[in-house]
Symmetry: C2
Subunit: 408 residues, 2 copies
């Protein structure tokens, strides 16, 4: 039974966090700069993309959390500040300094994130003005505004918050993110900001974050394209008043992990369900693997198989493409031991199963699609989330003519 319960709000649901978002003109319209500020220095952890062409702000973010402490997150959309060379590094550091000055913290306690078009310089005059304005608008209710401020081609802000107990003390954890992938659609990227008022020491916070990300954001894909800017960051400001969590066997750490897993998986699924051009959300459950990693590898192979994704878009009960996709992963499966189910209908069980084609045709009419694969190799299970591949995905990623306010 989960030891957390969902509550309204987002990154300002935990105590002692303010947030705001403004439109400063990086994009033609819509909010394009967000600030999240803890009332006090917070334990901090972050994980960023492994892309070798990763953006300047991902380096600044790593530096900011290297001592386990941070207090401010500043993020812009509309420009990724990636593939921008030395100038980009200097601009990212300037963003940190400006946010520090505007909020009265040290520059080394500022996490910096950018998302948008790759290879263009940030308009630093607009960014400077935006940071100043956002700092003036910070409120304890600004979490949802911040969620809107980091949107690019997302169709809705993505946010969630929960409440849980740590050794009898009520704590809160909230998060926001933007999509639409682990993996960049429209030159955009995946960003996720988490806050909690639980007291937890930085090394434990970091290991909890890495584990949660592995089972959430690293289990989604929209188009298989790794981004230059992906960042997940968490601030834990201890305002709840619990005795600080320091070790994995401390009372309440399990509840914290459960809450963190729920929040990150909820946000990850929101990203997959809102992938660019997406018309259907797909959950792939791989069971019977020798390890979780092996199960995820098979899930990812299916989730990134374009022909499977186009079939789902077309409502085509084409289970053969699932077989081809899982066969293309590096996992040495024996088809005779494999079971494949699509929408609960068993299509392959070591051999082809006779299908009722009428049932198959109607099976894919809804917006939710379930794929179950039993590898017959062991006991491990993994879940991977993705969406279908549609003509809209191609159209919205093909054109110069995409309005800057949406596309970046």
């Amino acid at each position: 039974m989960p030891e957390y319960r969902e509550i309204p709000g987002a990154v300002t649901a935990p105590r002692g966090f303010k947030a705001a978002a403004v439109h400063c003109g990086i994009k033609q319209q819509a909010e394009d700069l967000a600030l999240i500020v803890s009332d006090c220095p917070a334990a901090a952890a972050a994980t960023v993309t492994t892309n070798t062409f990763r953006a300047a702000p991902t380096f600044v973010t790593q530096e900011a959390v290297s001592n386990g402490i941070a207090q401010v997150i500043v993020a812009n959309s509309g420009c990724a500040n990636a593939a921008t060379g030395e100038q980009g590094m200097s601009d990212a550091r300037t963003m940190a300094r400006l946010a520090a000055e505007a909020t009265g913290v040290a520059a080394e306690d500022v996490i910096v994130c950018s998302t948008g078009i790759i290879g263009r310089r940030l308009p630093m005059d607009k960014v400077a003005e935006g940071i100043k304005q956002a700092a003036q608008r910070l409120t304890y209710e600004g979490g949802e505004a911040a969620a809107r401020g980091i949107m690019t081609t997302d169709t809705a802000p993505k946010l969630v918050a929960v409440e849980f107990e740590v050794a009898g003390v009520t704590c809160r954890l909230g998060g926001i993110c933007k999509g639409a992938g682990m993996i960049c659609p429209q030159m955009a990227t995946m960003l996720c900001f988490l806050t909690t008022d639980a007291a937890i020491e930085a090394p434990l916070l970091r290991s909890a974050l890495l584990a949660a990300v592995e089972h959430s954001f690293n289990c989604i894909t929209v188009d298989g394209d790794m981004s230059t800017n992906d960042t997940v960051a968490i601030l834990a400001n201890a305002q709840a008043g619990n005795r600080p969590l320091a070790a994995a066997d401390d009372e309440g750490y399990f509840a914290f992990r459960q809450a963190l897993d729920f929040v990150t998986q909820t946000l990850a699924k929101k990203i997959a369900a809102d992938g660019e051009g997406c018309s259907k959300f797909i959950e792939i459950v791989v069971t019977g693997a020798q390890s979780w990693e092996q199960a995820r590898m098979v899930g990812r192979a299916v989730a990134n198989y374009n022909l499977f994704k186009t079939a789902i878009y077309g409502g085509d009960f084409n289970w053969g493409r699932i077989a081809a996709a899982l066969g293309s992963s590096k996992v040495p499966v024996d088809p005779a031991a494999v079971t494949i189910r699509l929408q609960g209908i068993t299509a392959w069980q070591g051999r082809p199963v006779e299908l009722d084609m009428k049932e198959c045709r109607s099976a894919l009419e809804g917006r939710q699609v379930s794929v179950e694969i039993d590898l017959g190799l062991g006991q491990a299970t993994a879940r991977v989330w993705t969406c279908d591949l549609t003509p809209d995905y191609v159209h919205s990623n093909a054109a110069y003519e995409v309005p800057e306010s949406q596309g970046d």
Copy 2:
């Protein structure tokens, strides 16, 4: 200087090979069964997909060439005979036996290939009738008919033939293939059949084939989706009368390898240029790598990056997506040492290069796209070929409504 010259024809351009194709009703219309027959037993080699869900005929083909000798190739389109279990294995063996009976050879000398929808049984009565008819229509001019007989969603038959000298003796090498990928579009698959009248011993033929495939078909991608049926097979029937090639330093082996590389790379590029929905052919040249494998890894990462392919479709000079794609490969590049050119225009040279946006916009108007990436790590070079990702790709792979005569 190449030691071969292109000649008309295909798999019947070499001496002592007959071919034919017929419509036997696996598809609603269009030819769906092809036969290629050598006048005498030929040295033979084949390489098939590594997909763990690979089709029954790929097992039969491996058995057929295991002793280095084969004489007949029988192939059908419209049904892949993949994910068909024991029944599929039995059907593939029956296909070999029927082709052997119709052509008067031993069943173990028949290479069997299928392409089309996965998970459905072959209509064996139609296949039997088709094989009988095709055997009656075999001619020494049937190479192009065979190329048409293996087409699925290809827009044109793919064929090529060359002539070259082995120690003063003129030999010929011809090939046909169907696409549209290393990698399956429309549940189809890549098949390539090569014939030569050069005399060459089977072990050397096999090593020449593996090397040629590595630099041709294993350097193309349409959608990143590995197929269940990919097969490349070659028959060398020694009808040219040259002294048999047996070792890599034999006189004339270099000319044979050059001819084989030209034929396989020509066919591979035809597949990439005719990828499903393709509107542009893309060549990616990666230089400055530590090894050819490393160079190809980077080329493949770019060639499979959906966002790069959609940008090319849109004529969008979005070089940042090339940076993001190469950064996502597992190769540890240093951006400061990298150069990226799109259509000959340098966009990144260790840092961003100032671009003339007018020039960039018009650069992508043609049907051919050139990407050059210098990794700055070493001296090795690789070439990878692909095509753009278009709405037509999604449409033609989404629907039940695809006419059976095209889609399989």
